[in-house]
């Protein structure tokens, strides 16, 4: 989306029907008045013409003078999910969000309108494009213009939650604390269990074996402090990039939900960024800012200036 205000061109909406109806009505009225020779019929037709002219022309001025300001917008959302943007208008109008798309809203009594928009793609929105329409004062003909409004704060549109990378998925059958544990052949001992075929000999836990009478072995889990690094490489094609971002989102969310610390490596407008993400929202913001990239820099490469 191009920041800044576009030239405001006020155009009528579906004008053919109302204009044709008005012309036909006035034409027929005038013909009757003129052939019957009744001056008051003609005068009444002039009043009707006044209604039509005012009703069809004044909305253009109303739309031209209508001003809109975004007074409230959330910082985060997810692609495909509706989000409300609060807009203050100077006069009663109909607002139709164009980019991101959404449902049209009427001002009603309040000058503030909650405009529900649904960003279809991930990204960072700094502006929104709305169509401002009015048929004031008579509702006979709608005129509209398109405005590009700066948001109060950038709106980070996180990618949808995609399927996680299978390589990061571990079997989880337990619940609660168990779901967060990642079994490993080496690591921190977390308990004992009966021997299974393939268990190493030095895993045998003799006190437990003696206590239970069954051969017991130590159970190990991966150290939780070691972060998982997720590198996101987005393709140039927006659709492909969105799918990749969604997958990365799912992967990161899965890792985070399993208790793992995650370092997300993305490329933003200013260059590659390697930072830990502390939650799904932060990951969403990072992925929202991510742009298609070329070859990744080495992990230990110096961060770009200003990072």
């Amino acid at each position: 989306m191009t920041p800044g205000r576009r030239p405001e061109r006020v155009r009528p909406e579906r004008a053919l029907g109302p204009v044709l109806a008005a012309v036909l009505t006035l034409g027929a009225w005038g013909a009757i008045a003129h052939s019957s020779g009744a001056g008051w019929v003609q005068a009444l037709g002039a009043v009707l013409a006044g209604f039509f002219v005012v009703g069809m022309v004044v909305p253009a001025f109303a739309v031209h003078r209508a001003g809109c300001t975004v007074v409230g917008s959330p910082p985060d959302t997810t692609a495909g999910e509706p989000v409300a943007i609060e807009i203050e208008v100077t006069r009663p109008v109909r607002l139709r969000p164009l980019s991101p798309p959404g449902r049209p809203a009427l001002t009603g009594r309040s000058p503030r309108v909650r405009l529900e928009v649904t960003p279809p793609r991930r990204g960072v929105l700094t502006h929104c494009e709305v169509q401002v329409a009015s048929a004031a004062p008579f509702g006979l003909l709608w005129w509209a213009k398109t405005l590009t409004l700066p948001l109060v704060r950038p709106l980070h549109v996180a990618p949808r939650m995609g399927e996680p990378d299978p390589s990061t998925v571990v079997g989880r059958t337990g619940s609660g604390e168990d779901r967060r544990r990642v079994p490993a052949r080496v690591g921190e001992p977390r308990g004992v269990r009966p021997y299974q075929s393939g268990d190493l000999r030095h895993w045998v836990h003799w006190p437990a074996t003696a206590h239970s009478g069954v051969l017991m072995v130590r159970e190990m889990e991966e150290p939780s402090a070691r972060p998982a690094t997720v590198e996101v490489v987005l393709a140039g094609d927006p659709d492909t990039a969105d799918r990749q971002a969604e997958r990365a989102m799912g992967t990161v969310a899965g890792l985070l939900s399993s208790g793992r610390a995650v370092t997300l490596v993305t490329t933003e407008r200013d260059g590659p960024v390697r930072e830990a993400v502390v939650g799904v929202a932060a990951a969403g913001r990072r992925l929202a800012r991510a742009v298609p990239t070329g070859p990744l820099r080495p992990p230990d490469a110096a961060p770009p200036p200003g990072r």
Binding site: G30, G37, W40, V41, L44, V58, P92, A135, G139
Partner: protein, 716 residues
């Protein structure tokens, strides 16, 4: 999408409309439309009042059932409307009824009203209310077709105002119930009015199509015992006119010309009253009578043969096709004029010169050899008739050439030439004057022009002329005496001078076109528009009208008389009711504004004023520099033995000061309660017994005049 589904979709009821203002305005437009039809006589009072009541009831019903319409109601209403349409077609298809377009408009108004009444019971949604608004325009149109005076503007303005409010409320409802603000609505109404006025100014005047039947109706008509006689001379429409007399009555419609002979010795006074209205293709003189015989003081119309009747009956109408007279040419370019009688007048059929066809609802008319006509009945208020006149106005160049070549047009017989060059005596001085004036004018037209120029240069126009002595010749007195006169004297002088030159001329009487009303497209002919002018015979072109009076300059009136006349004219034109309403509104606004200015701006100011007023009523002196709490304590002392209302004055004063200077103001209910208590205290102070004759309160007696400043302006 099939046609059926499209129709079904189009007829699906919309969401219920909840805007009460929109509904009220839509209902009001319909009611105004019905009232307009009633005022124009298209609906009987019973039908109109009943319809208005039903429309209101129907809309209330629709509002209550808007979310849950009665099942089957649409079908019942559809059947009712179908029956109404059948009634309408049966009514208008009766040949005896349809005599003109106007006769269809009555049943049409009834049909429109019936549709609106039935529709009022099924108006749940915005679209239905919009139909009510649009439908009211058809009612207004039906009424407008019959309206001929400016009072209809009242209905148009009220209807348009409700229409503006209704549409504004509709728009408000469209955007989710935005508040309808009076200011923008008024501006919008003003814009509609401006556009309407511009459109009226730009559009050409309406013209009745010649393919329709022209309107003609009689109202208050009474058949005359002597059909061709001239009536309308008194309050009774059938009373015969009497010759005008000096010092007596002033003639029919205020003009002596319609009272049989035209006596130039009698002075009349003409009013502003509209006598009839004319819808015409173009303005012209509305001719009533012409006179051929001049006796030195009066004009008279006489029969061609002594003892014969001047007027002959004409049948075969309506429309009546008038016989071709010697002064007429072709009947291929009719100038249509419809006359709407506004006051009971003479039974003269006014018309533009050279009438050829008359639409008049009577079996016969009476016509004189000069082409003027009379009805066989009296003409009451509301009578309407239409005349088609041959357009026979020649250009000056054509009139200069007239007679120079052999004429292919109408000619006068020698007897007719004698008839229109008749003079009571030789008029040697007048003849000499006429000959000298026209010495260098070779053609008839040149002579007429030369005489008109002489009259313009040597006479002045005034209605304030001395009475004519008995036996004195009006023309000689005018030309060689006062040289002051009005249309009768001026036109008579021209006619007589022309006759001394053996040029056929006659005196014509009627009305000038009158002011044109662009709203009604009618010429409002007033009594003061009565006029006399001259008709001169031209070979080929027949009788042509000349108005020498129009060229004559006004006499210099005395300043005092002119001032009185102007003041009377201006004050007479002020409509009392609108001006009175505006004056009352301005006065009410000024009083309201004054009261607003005097009203306390803040709660603390109101409380201070109440406590001060209570102190004054209690007989205490009030000092503007005194703290309110001190005043409260003094009031407390004053009330001590008389059971003051709770809370007491001291508490009220403390609360006021706390509100003014404290950190938090009391909430609205508390403020309302405290102010009410202060008012009760003021009321109770009025009933206190007189204070003892000692100076109360601390310090010296303060002055009484200085008002207390608001304790804390701007604070609640």
């Amino acid at each position: 999408m099939s046609l059926l589904s499209a129709v079904k979709r189009a007829n699906e009821p919309g969401p219920p409309e909840n805007s009460v203002l929109f509904r009220l305005a839509a209902t009001a437009t319909v009611v105004v439309g019905i009232a307009a039809c009633w005022s124009e006589g298209e609906l009987s009072p019973t039908v109109a009042v009943g319809s208005m009541a039903l429309v209101v009831v129907g809309n209330v019903f629709s509002y209550r059932r808007r979310a849950n319409p009665l099942p089957g109601l649409k079908a019942v209403l559809a059947v009712a409307v179908t029956i109404a349409f059948l009634w309408f077609f049966l009514t208008v298809s009766r040949p005896a009824v349809v005599t003109s377009l106007a006769t269809v408009e009555g049943p049409l108004a009834v049909l429109f009203t019936f549709i609106q009444v039935t529709h009022a019971f099924d108006v749940p949604s915005r679209r239905d209310l919009g139909f009510s608004l649009a439908g009211s325009a058809t009612l207004m149109a039906a009424a407008a077709a019959q309206a001929i005076d400016v009072t209809f503007a009242l209905y148009v303005v009220v209807w348009a105002a409700f229409g503006v409010v209704g549409l504004a409320a509709m728009w408000s409802s469209m955007v989710g119930g935005a508040r309808v603000r009076p200011g923008p609505v008024a501006l919008t109404g003003l814009a509609v009015l401006v556009v309407a006025v511009l459109v009226v100014a730009v559009l050409p005047a309406t013209h009745a199509s010649s393919t329709i039947v022209f309107p003609s109706t009689l109202a208050g008509d009474v058949p005359l015992s002597t059909p061709a006689s001239l009536v309308g001379g008194g309050k009774q429409g059938t009373q015969p006119v009497q010759p005008a007399q000096a010092g007596g009555r002033i003639g029919v419609g205020g003009f002596l010309g319609f009272a049989g002979p035209l006596d130039t010795a009698v002075r009349g006074q003409l009013s502003d009253q509209v006598v009839f209205r004319v819808r015409a293709d173009r303005p012209t003189f509305w001719l009533a009578e012409t006179f051929n015989e001049w006796d030195g003081q009066s004009w008279a119309a006489t029969a061609v043969r002594p003892g014969a009747s001047l007027f002959v009956p004409i049948g075969g109408g309506p429309p009546f096709t008038l016989p071709l007279l010697s002064g007429e040419l072709h009947r291929n370019n009719l100038d249509i004029q419809t006359f709407y009688i506004a006051v009971a007048g003479p039974n003269l059929i006014f018309h533009a010169a050279n009438a050829a066809q008359v639409w008049f609802p009577a079996p016969r008319l009476f016509m004189a050899p000069d082409g003027t006509m009379r009805a066989g009945t009296s003409l009451g208020v509301g009578s309407v008739y239409t005349v088609g006149s041959e357009v026979n106005t020649a250009t000056p160049a054509q009139l200069v050439q007239a007679g120079s070549t052999p004429s292919s047009g109408p000619t006068l017989t020698p007897a007719e030439v004698l008839r229109y060059t008749q003079l009571p005596h030789a008029y040697p001085e007048v003849a000499a004057l006429a000959r000298s004036v026209t010495a260098h004018a070779p053609t008839v037209y040149d002579k007429v022009a030369a005489l008109e120029t002489w009259i313009r240069r040597h006479t002045v126009y005034t209605t304030d002329i001395p009475p004519l002595r008995r036996g004195q010749d009006a023309v000689e007195q005018f030309l060689f005496g006062s040289r002051r006169g009005y249309c009768e004297q001026i036109s008579t002088a021209l006619a007589v001078m022309l006759r001394t030159l053996d040029i056929p001329a006659r005196e014509a009487a009627g009305y000038v076109p009158g002011p044109y009303n662009p709203l009604t497209d009618l010429y409002d002919v007033q009594a003061k528009d009565a006029h006399a002018w001259v008709q001169v015979w031209f070979p080929t072109y027949g009788w042509q009208s000349f108005d020498p009076t129009a060229l004559v300059p006004d006499a210099n009136p005395s300043p005092g008389a002119a001032l009185v006349h102007e003041v009377a004219d201006v004050t007479g034109r002020i409509p009392p009711v609108p001006v009175g309403v505006v004056a009352v509104l301005v006065l009410a606004g000024a009083l309201l504004w004054r009261r607003q200015r005097r009203a306390p701006k803040t709660w603390t100011e109101a409380m201070s004023r109440e406590l001060e007023e209570a102190a004054r009523r209690a007989g205490l002196d009030v000092d503007a520099s005194e703290a309110l709490s001190t005043l409260g304590r003094r009031l407390e002392v004053r009330f001590a033995a008389h059971d003051p209302p709770a809370p007491g004055p001291a508490e009220l004063a403390r609360a006021t000061e706390a509100a003014a200077f404290g950190p938090a103001a009391p909430d609205e209910p508390t403020r309302t309660a405290l102010l009410a208590a202060a008012r009760r205290l003021t009321g109770a102070a009025s009933h206190l017994p007189p204070a003892p004759d000692v100076t109360s309160g601390p310090g010296p007696t303060p002055p009484r005049s200085s008002p207390r400043q608001p304790a804390a302006a701007g604070r609640p």
